[in-house]
């Protein structure tokens, strides 16, 4: 039964998540230097007694396994530590910035799918045509391009030279918006705030394109090659023999089968999106999780780094889980 298979898959995720937490735990232990110093973010001098007291507070005087146990149990309960650099709990800091990152990631995913799906399909149907060759060349370009550079070039062209689109942030400072979910586009729709909608969309365009370009390239190529393979198969011949129109043959019979391997690739790309986040957020000064991490690195805010890396990794694992489930669901051959 498919449900059993899905449950199995969910169960294998849990040890992985623990493993991730353990690895992150050891990250910090790798760092050269005094651990208390590290936890405090090397932000100040402390007296000797305070050092001991803090050492006890951080449980650094306990054996490693105990520390690990506390770390894990804290994490499961939602406590990822405290950032002394910013004077807030890590979880709070992350929660503040998460919607911005989610919005951009969704934007990038949307952009890349809107570009990649039609191109992948039409390139396969009209193989070796001008459209095919040029879009495959374009896909190649997208894959080979460093995202930070693409972002800068886009800013250069569209913001600096043409003044069509803004170069940073999520919203112009003179636009008001009441936040509901933290996703500005959604919020402006919910509060029926037209100027904010337009403004937030404008701010979302360039970052989404920058982040989505590489993914679009890969997805387009994979879709094209699986479509090509599918179009060669016998059941396509039968579909035509039944009298189906070319549209039905391509969109219904072929696409359904070609999407199955493509979906797994898209899932993997989410990992790329999560990583590329950091870069694109830095380029566009986007107040999201990625920039938080980068800032944290420069501020030597290790608790924050630790917590964020863990969140990223766990998100990735969960996304892969969802993709796997979708794949199991889509592919009729997997039943037992």
């Amino acid at each position: 039964m498919k449900v059993v298979k899905i449950l199995e898959r969910v169960l294998t995720t849990i040890p992985i998540m623990f493993g991730v937490a353990i690895i992150v735990f050891f990250f910090v232990r790798l760092t050269p230097g005094d651990p208390v110093d590290i936890m405090l973010g090397r932000s100040g001098a402390v007296t000797a007694e305070e050092l001991d007291q803090l050492r006890h507070q951080f449980r650094l005087d306990k054996p490693l396994e105990v520390q690990l146990w506390y770390f894990l149990s804290d994490a499961v309960r939602g406590n990822l530590g405290y950032s002394y650099v910013r004077n807030k709990s890590v979880v709070d800091l992350i929660a503040e910035r998460l919607p911005a990152t989610i919005e951009m990631t969704l934007g990038a995913l949307l952009v890349s799918l809107i570009i990649a799906l039609p191109i992948g399909i039409f390139s396969a149907v009209r193989q070796n045509s001008l459209l095919d060759r040029s879009s495959m060349a374009g896909a190649f370009l997208g894959i080979s391009m460093p995202s930070f550079w693409l972002g800068i070039i886009l800013i250069l062209i569209f913001a600096v030279r043409l003044h069509w689109l803004p170069a940073q942030s999520r919203l112009s400072y003179d636009v008001q918006l009441r936040e509901v979910t933290g996703l500005y586009v959604l919020d402006s729709l919910l509060t029926r705030n037209m100027p904010a909608l337009v403004d937030s969309l404008k701010h979302l365009v360039l970052p989404s394109i920058t982040l989505g370009a590489g993914v679009a390239g890969i997805v387009a190529r994979v879709l094209r090659s699986s479509m090509l393979e599918v179009l060669r198969s016998d059941y396509i011949k039968l579909a035509r023999a039944k009298g189906a129109t070319e549209w039905q043959v391509v969109m219904k019979h072929a696409l359904r089968n070609a999407l199955i391997p493509t979906v797994t690739v898209v899932g993997l790309q989410v990992g790329v999106l999560l990583g590329g986040n950091m870069i694109v957020e830095s380029v566009f000064s986007w107040p999201g999780l990625g920039r938080l991490v980068v800032d944290a690195i420069f501020n030597r805010d290790f608790p924050l780094i630790q917590g964020s890396v863990m969140i990223y990794a766990i998100t990735f694992v969960l996304v892969n889980l969802v993709v796997d489930i979708m794949y199991t669901y889509l592919n009729p051959r997997i039943t037992l």
Binding site: D234, Y235, L238, A241, G243, P332
Partner: protein, 338 residues
Amino acid sequence: MSESQPLLELRNLETVFPTRRGVVQAVTGVSLTLHKGEILGIVGESGCGKSVTLLSILRLISWPGRIAGGQVLFQGRDLLKLSGREIRRIRGKDIAMVFQDPLSTLNPAFTVGEQIGESLRIHGILADGRAFWPWSGRRAAERERAVELMAEVGISSPMDRYREYPHEFSGGMQQRALIAIALACEPQVLLADEPTTSLDVTIQAQILDLMRRINQEHGTAIVLVTHNLDLAAEFCQRIIVMYAGRLVEMGGVDQVIESPQHPYTRGLLACIPRISARRSRIEPIPGNVPDLADVPPGCAFAPRCPLAQSACPASLVPLSEVEPGHWVRCLCRTGMAR
């Protein structure tokens, strides 16, 4: 025995495939007729062009192959001249096709029932006057009809099987499902491309029985392509023998099997292992099938023919009637070689 007008008629069909080595002449100058309710067999080795002939009838030849000449007349209309939309209306409805390997021919992503129902939906059967909304009524009607069809072709417990996927069916059932798809719109002609080749012998017999029953109950004409002369002998009313893209012998099953005229046909019959044969050896035909990119203008069989004369490969050998309804393309057998 022929009625006023043949149901399906091929005149000088020519299909080619341009390849890097040259233009492959897959089908050259093939002419045949099929009458209502008739069972016609096309026999020949692999690569002789019999499958391509069937595909050409429905214009299913994929690029870069193309139909280079001739006519395909169905009820008097030349199918090769029809528009895309018109030929699509004929495909699956008036002329249906069944393919060789059922597992790869059925779409793995859809249930079997859905695929049968699709034939009905494409051609608007059951749509008659039924309102668009609520289309649950039409869906239900399609499902009912599909289940009926599945029962008719001998698929057991069709109500349950409707929701299953192709890979859950056995080979024989898959083939039955393909036949059900083909029959959905009650076609007048059924083109069967080696429908039993990938099946076990016992299942083969069942499928042939099924097809025979369909022919008798629905009056569907059948064109059966096979490399198995025995099978054709048992099943068909008329037989066509093809070699290297050409039609070399054509006639009633008794005529061709009992008194084969073309040396190739004779060779084929000699190749068949028989349990009760008095002969102790199987006589293979010496030589190899010619490269279809490089066929001589005359008789293609000449290099392997025991009776070959110099005139044979030189120029096109015409078909001549050796007895009523029995045609052969051979200079020697028809006494035309001098």
